[in-house]
Amino acid sequence: MSEPMKIRATQQGDAADVRILMLHPMETGQRRDAKGEIVPLHFIQSVMITHNGRTVLDAQWSQAVSRNPFLGLRIKGTKPGDKISVTWVDNKGDKRTDDATVAAS
């Protein structure tokens, strides 16, 4: 099973600054392992971020996003205590959801 994401959401004025760190190998399908064999393509394809249940960002990624992906965004009209939820799905169908609440700055 995949490792939990690190999500930090901080209220700044009337918006939230959200920083997400996902733990994923993001294999390009071009790298070779120690035995010289190609490591198969394995990467996060979709990421969805919701604010109190409403989608604010829906991302589609290629294998060009770096290993252990970082994603930063800003959401308008948030208040401290609001719920931020992040879900990713990779090309093998693995899926993970983690939540955070917006912290007062």
């Binding site: 971020i49 409403r54 604010v56 829906d58 991302a59 589609q60 290629s62 060009a64 994603l71 799905v89």
Partner: protein
């Protein structure tokens, strides 16, 4: 004996419930998630990638700011942030022109998401990074060159 049978039935029941929940989850995601743009992500040259995201000839815009280093030591981790000051920004795409597959990411923005995304991408070699913004149904672009010392696609 009957105890064993009961626990067996319980186990079967919980497995079935889990399976049903899994299927429901998949069905729901198929409805609400944007389709992964296979044609766009499998495009091998810039023009093809632009065409496949619907932005064959985006207009250059000074209201898009790409924040990325001028020189990146490590092509495996190049920080890229895109800020769009264009009103009603709906979508931001990030493209690394000389990568084997140039299109790196497409972000659909809605419900109060600001025209800003920040991430880290891999770059095979020195190249222009393109930011393509969709706003009010039109496409706009900006680009910035990033010099790579060690490529990050291997």
């Amino acid at each position: 004996m009957s105890d064993m049978r009961r626990s067996f039935l319980k186990l079967v029941g919980s497995v079935a419930t889990l399976a049903a929940a899994g299927v429901a989850g998949l069905l729901r995601s198929a409805e609400t998630w944007a389709d992964w743009n296979k044609a766009g992500f499998e495009s091998k040259v810039l023009a093809e990638a632009l065409k496949n995201i619907g932005a064959a000839s985006p207009a250059e815009s000074k209201d898009i700011v790409i924040t990325a280093p001028d020189i990146a030591e490590n092509g495996a981790v190049v920080p890229v942030a895109v800020t769009s000051r264009i009103p009603n920004t709906q979508q931001i795409s990030i493209i690394s022109e000389k990568n084997p597959f140039p299109l790196a990411a497409v972000f659909e923005i809605a419900n109060g998401g600001e025209g800003y995304v920040s991430t880290r991408i891999k770059m095979g070699q020195t190249s222009d990074i393109w930011a393509v913004v969709k706003a009010g149904g039109k496409y706009f672009s900006a680009r910035k060159e990033v010099k790579i010392t060690v490529g990050g696609c291997g």
